[in-house]
Symmetry: C2
Subunit: 152 residues, 2 copies
DNA sequence: TATAGAATTGACGTAAACGTAAAAGGCGCA
DNA sequence: TGCGCCTTTTACGTTTACGTCAATTCTATA
């Protein structure tokens, strides 16, 4: 029992007999999306991914790839994995997914608000810090200027 | 043994410096600076504060207040407590503190860079999220528009 | 004196997202 | 057939800044 990577290019030793099923193992998956093996297993443990198995070996389908892309997008915009899961769990391939979309929109609005608040805090911190830095530079200048002209 | 209660500023059991020492207990200190008791004890545990003791009761001097203000400022601009401590540990009331100021400036520059980077990431996330939201709204519209007019 | 309000020192819990062994099973290949 | 690489499961460790009891003591006040 062994299948694995692509069905087209025979760059690999193993070839799938199945048609079009582009299955990859965890190593390739990780490399492809720039995550670690641990991360993929962790996501699975959290119910975010659900790869097939060949014996005990995980085999990721293009469905898993789509889901991983969504996870990474969610992570990028600051959603927790819990949120991501909650949204993905509502996905129904046979329906219109109106509920899912509404939930996503709702969560997105809240997340957007959080992000804007964070940005405000950071802007605040930046100006505060800049101010302090000016003061410190001033103090340092007063400690070296009275001596002579200028140098450092 | 009891002092406090802010009226009798006279000398009591302990005196190492001089009078006029406006000592406050942890409760008042916490209220004054908007932190919890736990926080004050935690900062002490981390070596950031060093209140006097009346028996086992902590008594905060104006020195502690000054230090706490610095801690809170540092926290606001995103320094870790470790950083704050490192900078404060260099304070020498008898010297020019040039070293301390230089370290503070150095750390500040790095922190400023971090903050700016964070802001860039957040801006990125905001626009990405906004984009996704538009798409989702679009999808929702397509699910309700084809039927009739609109509502929701 | 009884009760409520401060204060003390532990010490475990929390959140988020993995990192990092450890021990073991398979597989291709020279 | 031994080596090396990939994979698996299990499970404790990390980071930061406290939160949240718990048990106890001290004190002020009605």
């Amino acid at each position: 029992m062994k299948l694995i990577s692509a069905g087209e290019t025979a760059a690999n030793t193993n070839m799938s007999i199945e048609a079009g099923e582009d299955l990859v193992r965890i190593g390739e998956m990780a490399k492809k999306y720039g995550v670690t093996l641990r991360t993929l297993r962790f996501y699975e443990d959290k119910g975010l991914l659900n790869p097939q198995r060949d014996g005990s070996t995980r085999l990721y389908t293009r469905r898993d790839k789509a889901r991983l892309k969504l996870i990474l997008l969610g992570r990028k915009v600051g959603f927790s994995l819990r949120d991501v899961k909650q949204m993905m769990d509502l996905y129904d391939p046979t329906g219109s997914n109106t509920k899912q979309l509404k939930l996503a929109l709702d969560k997105s609005e809240k997340q957007l608000a959080r992000l804007q608040k964070q940005r405000a805090l950071i802007d605040d911190a930046i100006s505060e810090l800049s101010g302090s830095m000016s003061a410190v530079r001033q103090m340092l200048a007063e400690r070296s200027a009275p001596q002579a002209s200028a140098a450092s």
